[in-house]
Symmetry: none
Subunit: 175 residues, 4 copies
DNA sequence: TATGAATGAGGTTTCATTCAT
DNA sequence: CATGAATGAAACCTCATTCAT
């Protein structure tokens, strides 16, 4: 992950992966049939970790608005604290190296989030829109904020994070 | 652009670019010192085109809210109608192949948008937030909506587009 | 060495080296970072061999004049018996492919010869001249004689060799 | 000549020759059928110039020994004052790029020198040796002295030059 | 006669993968 | 199960030469 985050999928040969991980090329190929499988495996691991991070300290008892902001901020905090994961995942999400199957599997990790949005719509907290569209709008704001930090153009403070979460909430909430 | 959008930066050799463009490898290297320069040049061209598309039919006379939605929807329409540009640009924006210089140059194309946001804040149409952060939030919603269409998961209709633009506006507007 | 001696540094691609040596290109690059390093390594090996050959059967007990002729003739014999080494080294000694470092390292192989000349000057067998100049004059006569044989213009016999060594000695000796 | 002397035959493309000479590639190919012909032509020009330089201020009236030293020193002076010619010629003399025909033609430029040596042998000034061998021994001492200067290891002064010429004479003279 | 953009074969080098140890 | 040297196809790039202008 480190190598790919830093140098790009493009510029990360197996030989470097072997060297950095201190595992010989032969051994890597003992556990993974090829480079593609290795990357896909890592991709799924990280997607899972990121999806899980969203629900840290989640408490179904607290008001919907607060839960919304918790999830949004959890996700952002995670990506900002693990910038390599962001960089790695963003590269993979575009690359044809990631199989359709892996993409579908990773989509399943979003089921809890999917349910959370559905709940918001049903309870009339959120605008009645296509759930996929809402999910993508939320995801878009989180990732673009994280990338802003990553780019070095702006140091995202607690205030920035809270304001951005509020923007996302204000955009999607009803009334 | 087509080849890279389809196959990825990774999987687009100069030989293919040469074949598809019907220009011999030698000729390409007559105009560009190397592959990197070629990609950077194309990247800047497309960034310019995308930045310009945002202000199509822009009329300073119409109300701020309408101009906001026009720019947002113009941008989305452009990316949806030219999905290859989206795919190409997204890959480049991550890749270390794009030089820091090109990134800075492309950032300058956003000056009009920057001014537009500044105007909104000064006129108290928009929340008082860091301009870069606002820009990234807007950009994030546009790109993630366009990617949703690109992924094939949802066909973005006019209604979807207008709703999404409204979400972005509601999130950023004051009151 | 054979390929370069025959075809020239210029006209010896790695693919030929790979084929003639029956070692795949990849393997060569496993041991040498690039062609330059490979040539430099070979250059140093041969320089060492040539320098060592000069002192074959060297006996410090015999008179200075005889030792001088032994070294001179040893060197010539070696170059004539291994014409590829001569051709290879002569090409390298001019080419910018050979690094300054390699040239300095190879110069160190001449230390024994340097000492031998110094001894001759101190003992008043040789004219009092700059040691580097003497070394180059000796080297010049040896190499040009070897090249004469290599060119095919004259078959260097034992008599020729002894006469040429005597010319060199007569030129440098005192009295 | 400048480019090849500095960078090597190997690393001097026609495009550079075109640029440095301010003559377009097309024009060069209008006058020379190919690169080889261009280099061969230049080689012969320089060989002629070097051969002619040897006999500057030559006066058949002066004693043989003085004429010998004049020719030797003229040659060295020329090579030292035009180090690019030395570098260029030395590279060509090895390269297979120079045709056999050009080498034979250039050998004819040495006719006066050949005659001068023959005179020395007949008049019993010089040892009775093969003329080619004598020529090569003389040439070897001149070139190796010039290369010593070129290498930067020793600045060849007038004293060095005269001493070296004397070494060559002492080696070849009778008695 | 002069130009220089265009060509494409061939150069050096990289890297995913294999396999004998 | 672990190693890493070996492979060779394919990547990027160069350059002698041509030819329409």
């Amino acid at each position: 992950m480190e190598l790919i985050a830093e140098n790009g999928l493009h510029a990360t040969p197996m030989s470097q992966i072997s060297k950095r991980s201190k595992v010989s090329a032969g051994t890597i190929y003992h556990y993974f049939p090829n480079k593609e499988a290795l990357i896909n495996h890592l991709y799924l691991d990280l997607k899972k970790e990121i999806a899980d991070a969203a629900f840290r300290d989640y408490d179904i008892q607290v008001p919907y608005h607060e839960r919304f902001c918790l999830i949004w901020q959890n996700s952002l905090k995670h990506l900002i604290s693990k910038p390599m994961q962001l960089s790695f995942i963003e590269q993979c999400s575009i690359s044809p190296l990631i199989s359709q199957e892996a993409k579908e599997t990773s989509a399943r990790y979003l089921a809890p989030l999917f349910g959370f949005i559905a709940e918001g719509i049903e309870s009339s907290y959120l605008k009645k829109m296509d759930i996929q569209l809402i999910l993508h709008l939320i995801h878009g704001t989180i990732v673009s904020t994280a990338k802003l930090q990553l780019s070095g153009l702006l140091e995202i403070t607690d205030e920035h994070r809270e304001a951005a979460a509020q923007v996302c909430w204000d955009g999607l909430k009803i009334g």
